[in-house]
């Protein structure tokens, strides 16, 4: 509790570990707080082809581990802990975690984003029991059965295609009348023989006893309610940032992302935001990594300013 780190980094994805690498190389005492394992969202991606330097591509989990090892080679350390609350104002920031309270003079927030839930009753009850957020991870649980995919963007389209190869039937439920997904997905989707579309529709209830066995959907134009039997529902309606802990302390945008420009400086001195959790146009591994370098630069500058004023 008494120890005050130079920099505390919340989140061990590509933004977090790049910030850690740069901070540690700059001689700062750097601690990364990660709740599970390195890599963040990309750790669930089996093949990453748009991170330069890997001509054959690389799987996200391995890339995350390598980023961690690269940062630790220069002295950055990792603590496996879950943050419960944060006190970000003042010269010494405090993060209360499952492993105790941590203190630092600067904090880099790299908490990322996660799947956006439907916001329906019983959603928690059915998660992992017929309700899933990752087709690549959990599709096998519904092999040979009927599933519903919710959404119309690129992730939903990719999920529906993947599931159409695994499952007997895939029902795509989308609240609009056309897909938002890029054109490259349209033809294979419309050609898939076991894919059925429910346009201008949304899921209004989750059904089942102990395990999900169906959903209720409403056609928004007619108001008609239909019950669909299914073994699983895959939710792909976008992502939401992990910013609950900072609400009320930091300025967030209307989507809940942390307001910060290319310097990664937030509305509070000594607090920086990198990667998917920051408000930005393009959310990719390469842009998260760029943020990490920028955050280290401006954190170093901030700490030098603190030192000079004492």
């Amino acid at each position: 509790m008494d120890k005050i780190h130079d920099v505390l980094i919340l989140g061990g994805g590509p933004g977090g570990y790049t910030a850690a690498l740069y901070c540690a190389r700059a001689g700062l005492d750097t601690l990364v707080v990660e709740k599970l394992s390195a890599g963040g969202q990309m750790a669930l991606t089996q093949q990453i082809d748009n991170y330069p330097g890997f001509e054959e591509g690389i799987d996200g989990f391995t890339l995350g581990e390598r980023m961690q090892q690269g940062a630790e080679r220069f002295g950055a350390r990792t603590l496996l802990a879950e943050a419960h609350s944060a006190e970000l104002t003042g010269p010494v920031k405090k993060i209360h975690t499952s492993e105790g309270t941590l203190q630092a003079r600067a904090v880099i927030l790299a908490t990322g984003a996660g799947a956006r839930p439907l916001g329906l009753e019983r959603e928690d009850e059915f998660t992992g029991r017929g309700l899933y957020y990752c087709a690549a991870c959990d599709g096998m649980a519904c092999r040979g059965k009927t599933v519903v995919v919710v959404g119309g963007g690129n992730t939903a389209a990719a999920d529906a295609l993947l599931l159409s190869r695994l499952c007997e039937k895939v029902i795509l439920v989308h609240r609009r009348g056309t897909l938002k997904a890029t054109k490259i997905y349209h033809e294979p989707l419309f050609k898939a023989p076991n894919l059925e579309f429910h346009w201008n529709s949304q899921v209004t209830a989750l059904l089942g006893e102990g395990r999900l066995s169906g959903v209720e959907i409403r056609q928004n134009e007619t108001g008609k309610i239909t019950r669909l039997d299914c073994a699983g529902i895959f939710v792909s309606i976008g992502r939401s940032p992990a910013t609950e802990l900072f609400r009320g302390q930091l300025e967030l945008d209307e989507g809940g992302y942390i307001q910060a420009d290319e310097t990664t400086r937030t509305s509070l001195p000594g607090v920086f935001a990198v990667g998917d959790v920051r408000t930005k146009a393009v959310r990719q591994v390469v842009t998260a990594v760029g943020d990490g370098a920028a955050a280290s630069h401006f954190a170093e500058e901030y700490l030098a300013g603190l030192d000079a004023s004492h």
């Binding site: 394992s37 750790a43 669930l44 499952s98 959990d138």
Partner: protein
């Protein structure tokens, strides 16, 4: 000590026939989320030491065991006491959640 890989025989001798409690992850090699749990799982094996067996069981190799314990989703973690499954947690998203799960039984 890191988590050990179990097979049908070692599952019987080291989990079912032991007084010592065990935490068993039902996993699969194709399960990307199972890999994510790996580092936390190894850390728990180190922290808890010899008082708790921490093992992994591949459901593709042992589908009959997955059926017997009604494991539908990987990773599912089961806590065994006196050879009986007394608790389960599905796809925990942090080491803290696995620690809290274990607290109930240890």
């Amino acid at each position: 000590m890191s988590a050990i890989q179990l097979n049908a025989d070692t599952f019987r001798t080291q989990v079912l026939e032991q007084k010592q409690p065990a935490l068993v992850e039902f996993m699969a090699p194709w399960c990307v989320y199972c890999r994510r749990i790996g580092p936390a799982f190894d850390k728990i094996a180190q922290e808890k030491g010899p008082g708790l067996l921490v093992g992994k069981l591949d459901i593709d190799d042992q589908p009959q065991l997955a059926d017997r314990y009604q494991v539908e989703v990987v990773p599912t973690l089961l806590f065994f006491k006196d050879g009986e499954p007394v608790g389960r947690i599905v796809a925990p998203d942090s080491k803290a959640k696995i620690d809290a799960f274990l607290e109930q039984y240890l």
